[in-house]
Symmetry: C2
């Protein structure tokens, strides 16, 4: 199953929907539900049963016609596809309010995303601790990345600094950036950037509010 | 132009792209650029010129064949469509790390999103100030919403509390929720919910990292 998955390109839209399946299956598991039909799952998730079957067929199916899905098995398989059966070490660049909030988000750790270090250019922050995590100087970034196996770097810094820092991260071998800076990073194709643009998300709301009037 | 916009349904994908146009146009304005061709804008934004023309045609065009776009005019028009020419008062439910980070994000205010109050169920937080904003008890929420014109409510609370609080907000007249809780809210159709699911965003990165191996 996993082999065929690696060979076929899966659309970004499907990938974006997988975490939601994972979340619903986890909730079902917490309710001690063992099996679920695609119809019942569709009712709960508010998507069509055919969409569910199509999405899961991308990864080889997981269901038996007429028997529905085994909740735990399906959850675990989707978890594996999403890489949630592994630990991913992270660093956060920027120890301001946002960096602090992200460092303090215990939910991440329970999914295997572990913050190993926070870096900040402000000498007043360096040496302080956020939760149990030390804030280090930017000068130590390269050395830290050499000594620690870090998979994901989070950018919680102003947009004017983001491109430069992202290039530094790339040069140090980082291949996944979680970008909260309000800018499109220009980087080689072999690094994956996931943007979280909070102000653009707010603008979606103001568009809807504006349209109503 | 605005009239035709109200009549035709615009796809969510186009709406999601508008803030990015706005951002690039703002950058161009900061560079004192007065006009830009769709070809040059396309090069900068990494999308096709035909996509740009199609997107903007949804709102009546804005460009003159052969003359390109007037940067300031186009920025202002997109700003109006997005409702950025108005002030939107917000409240934040949840004064924890995330609520604090969102309250402290000065960028929001510069776009017209002004945080007027923070609410928390924890009595230890009530009465404190985050930036200049008072943290109030949840008991005061209804009364506060009656006395203040609030457009957007931000949910920065755990998932188990989110549905209940969202219903309270709806009953008090709120019609736009910015939801950071890790749950799909079940609400009437006339309230607009914009979800920011940080853990699902992280899972997109772990999927990519997992696929590489």
């Amino acid at each position: 199953m996993v082999t065929s998955l690696e060979e076929r390109p899966i659309s970004a839209a499907v990938i974006k929907r997988l975490p939601r399946y994972y979340r619903y299956l986890q909730d079902l598991q917490n309710e001690n539900m063992e099996r679920i039909s695609s119809e019942e799952l569709s009712r709960r998730m508010g998507v069509t049963a055919s969409q569910i079957r199509q999405d899961l067929n991308n990864f080889g199916g997981f269901g038996q016609q007429g028997y529905g899905y085994n909740v735990e098995y399906l959850k675990n398989e989707i978890g594996k596809i999403l890489g949630l059966n592994k630990t991913h070490n992270m660093i956060i660049i920027g120890g301001g309010n946002l960096g602090k909030a992200l460092a303090g988000y215990a939910n991440f750790e329970s999914r295997g995303f572990v913050v190993k270090g926070i870096f900040d250019a402000n000498p007043d922050l360096v040496g302080k601790r956020i939760r149990d995590i030390r804030v280090m100087a930017m000068e130590n970034l390269e050395c830290f990345l050499e000594e620690n196996e870090i998979a994901i770097a989070t950018l919680a810094i102003p947009k004017q600094d983001a491109q430069h820092v992202a290039e530094q991260l790339y040069a140090a071998g980082i291949r996944a950036i979680w970008n909260f800076a309000h800018v499109d990073l220009d980087l080689p194709r072999d690094i994956y950037v996931e943007n979280v643009n909070l102000i653009e998300s707010l603008m979606q709301l103001s568009y809807r509010l504006n349209k109503k009037h």
